[in-house]
Symmetry: C2
Subunit: 485 residues, 2 copies
């Protein structure tokens, strides 16, 4: 573009905060992988693989995962309600159950049309269902008026950070490694990311002492630390916090007067241990010791994108606020109202996710069967990948507990590090690019999520079907290690 005249806008005068933001999950590697995919589609020759494997992004339905029948049957009726005029044919010809039909009617009564704007925080019927779900999950009441539907959890995070950061002194504690949405959004807001390292050797758990040290350092630098982000189950780490760990984080938030942002989008992706919500743990502590815990401000997020739902293209999600000042909620309401409302069909999918068929409902058995098969498949693939990583030289991987990712560390030979430096690349980025070029497998280098200096990692989803691609990684790795020995 060297010969192009500089226009009104160029890299030198647009928003520097946008330029400063980094987002590797859909960065250079992903773009290159897509170019390879198009080349293969157009039957171009010369690539050493016949298929691109997108292991860079948690996009279940791009790969193997089928949508859950009950959800999609209801959505089809919401999109074209005249189908409801022929219930018998729906049932006999297309196998729709009565509960599918009833649910669609129930939702339509409230939302009128999925083509109409809802209220900005979401349709009342959906917010009520979310509250009922949280109540069942946690054993403590939830109030629909503090539940805000969002376009995926990402847009909820954007709302929360936009309102709670007040300029370049504001800081938010973010786990490292982290999902880069957080650092990117803080960069755009010109606020400070206060990183705290997760404890890799303890299965990527939170380490309150490490958090305390980060806060002390940030305060020295004049940062007004306002909030702590916890991703549980972890992305990219796959960890799952115990009830005890959660208490430690809440205690620390009380000590430092921090808002807690609990990103719980992987709450159903748990193989080992058990998911405990921050809300539940907080309510338990408030019951035991109201004076200490009653003023905690907690925002917790969930979405339809992950879990056995896997409907990320529908952009559905919500966040719940606990203990927020009414004035602050009023500003949150105004902020989201500028964007009018989250996609209404996505809102309906949130309703279906939190209120699936119950035992005795006609769609219950198929729902259970589909749900369990997806869960089992994810677990199997996680284990297969984990086993493969255990066999790879210089690769160490924590046992998978949850989410959709593994985040192994790789000990790269000094020659590989030198070659990466010569190419102007992070060593793990160099590794990931070589892997993509050689095998068509697209992963995300650890540097995209943050890692302790001198350590290298990569994140891979375990969504892609089959084991062939895992073998491609294993074989590539062997050759790579030999090449740079």
């Amino acid at each position: 573009m060297g010969s192009m005249p500089v226009g009104r806008l160029h890299k030198g005068n647009i928003n520097p905060n946008v330029i400063a933001a980094k987002y590797a999950v859909r960065g250079e590697l992903a773009v290159k992988a897509e170019e390879y995919r198009v080349k293969l589609e157009q039957a171009e020759e010369g690539l050493p693989f016949d298929k691109v494997i997108f292991a860079n992004i948690g996009n279940p339905q791009q790969l193997d995962q089928k949508p859950i029948t009950f959800f999609r049957q209801v959505l089809s009726l919401l999109e074209y309600p005249p189908l409801l005029e022929k219930e018998e044919a729906l049932k006999s010809v297309f196998g729709y159950n009565q509960d599918v039909i009833d649910r669609a009617k129930h939702l339509l009564k409230d939302i009128l049309s999925v083509g109409a704007y809802s209220q900005s925080p979401g349709s009342p019927i959906v917010r009520r269902s979310v509250a009922a779900f949280i109540e069942r999950r946690d054993g403590f009441p939830a109030d629909p008026s503090h539940i805000y539907l969002s376009a995926g959890a990402s847009s909820g995070v954007n709302t929360l950070l936009s309102v709670l950061c007040a300029g370049h002194d504001s800081g938010v504690l973010v786990p490292i490694p982290q999902y880069p949405l957080y650092t990117a959004t803080l960069a755009v807001l010109n606020a400070r990311c206060v990183p705290y390292y997760l404890h890799e050797e303890k299965n990527w758990g939170t380490d309150v002492e490490a958090i305390r040290a980060s806060v002390a350092k940030a305060k020295e630098e004049g940062t007004d630390v306002r909030a702590i982000v916890i991703i549980n189950p972890g992305n990219p780490t796959g960890s799952c916090l115990t009830s005890e760990s959660i208490k430690h984080v809440i205690d620390f938030a009380v000590e430092e007067n921090l808002v807690i942002i609990a990103d719980e989008v992987y709450q159903t992706n748990v193989f080992k241990g058990e998911f405990t919500s921050f809300k539940k743990r907080l309510r338990e502590l408030q019951k035991e010791s109201p004076m200490t815990y009653n003023h905690v401000e907690l925002a917790s997020l969930h979405s339809v994108s992950k879990g056995m739902v896997g409907e990320c293209g529908h952009r559905g999600g919500y966040f719940e606020l606990v203990g927020f000042h009414a004035d602050v909620e009023e500003q949150i309401y105004k902020f989201i109202s500028v964007m009018l409302c989250p996609p209404v069909i996505g809102q309906c999918l949130v309703e279906l996710m939190v209120n699936p068929p119950k035992k005795g409902d006609p769609s219950y058995e198929l729902y259970q069967q589909e749900y369990k098969a997806i869960a089992a498949g994810l677990h199997q693939r996680a284990l297969a990948l984990y086993e493969a990583f255990k066999r790879m030289e210089g690769v160490e991987c924590q046992e998978p507990h949850g989410s959709m990712y593994l985040f192994p560390s790789i000990t790269l030979p000094p020659k590989a590090v030198a070659a990466a430096e010569a190419a102007g690349r992070h060593p793990d980025e160099f590794y990931a690019l070589r892997l993509l070029d050689a095998t068509g497998v697209c992963i995300v280098p650890g540097s995209g999520f943050g890692q302790k200096p001198g350590t290298y990692h990569f994140r891979t989803t375990f969504l892609a079907p089959g084991t062939d691609w895992v073998n491609r990684i294993v074989n590539f790795h062997e050759k790579f290690m030999k090449e740079f020995k």
Copy 2:
């Protein structure tokens, strides 16, 4: 909330830019109207009306407008593709045409599942269709790689302003009256709104001399004016610019080196005159005089929310960039990639909107019939409302040309202005509140959009069916004028 202890976050320490933002379309009046609606639903007594009329927001399907059959049939198949396994039954029992089935298959081949993330700028198949549409509309080629799908046009505006504003010196020219998305977003970005008044007496046209004066003033104040926003057809004004007016704006942008942001979401809502896109006019000028016009940077926006589509709940839209530097487009790509992708079903609806059934296709006739009926209904109601306003004392309204709104001026008696001041209200807000309390009709006061000092207006949609609610306004107005005589 006076007795509540101040928490970590309160109005005094959260993002001051969010607090500064104003967004009246969904503000106090809308909230109050919704409260009245719920009261009526619960059969509470004591309200002097039996129905709330939401004339405050362009939400066609909340009111009378039916979705277009072809669009929704295709969407139902995208949501539940197993329906496609029984084509014969779809046709014979549910009346789906072959082109509906073919389109669904065509889209699914590319997107795989509406539950999967697409590429961040949108699915390639949709971007190609949008480019083909622009090409047909304007008679000039369009390039899919410069088309970005968005979650409604609002999110596109947010992207564009976020990237092009670089801090508190950056200014963007915004028409007054305007749709408050622009001022709210600029406030959140801590950038400056440079207002320019539209010419009410000339049917709310753009007045380049007024724009020039605004720019001169802004420059004196140290503002780096970067872009000009044009809403055509106008919101809230209903105006429709001539090809000549558009040239004047483009010439001014060239003179002042401004990026043009053309908000063209009402491009099909035109009763009088003819819509000309900024892109078309720019290409014509570039053909005539390339040296002068070749470097113009233009972003134009469109959406599925308005027009005869009216599918705002689906949050579909796009923007096209012309003449933007590749470096800047790269930053735009990164910015949107943090939010992953726009809702995929909304993207598909964009595809259907820009590529509707053609003459000879089985769904063509019904599509045409539905489309024309909606257009005619909107025109009739606009005229009925316009006629009613002509009969009202002190009310003046420009002839409706397009969009979904009328924006009459009201000359309020000095006693009413005094009463409003005593109540701590803008006079037009006072009027709108009284109207809502007395009749259940919810409009937006002109102060929510901006207006010349000392003038008062209100915006009303003409979407609500029937004429009863228009009479309610007429009767209220008569009583109001008498009361404050």
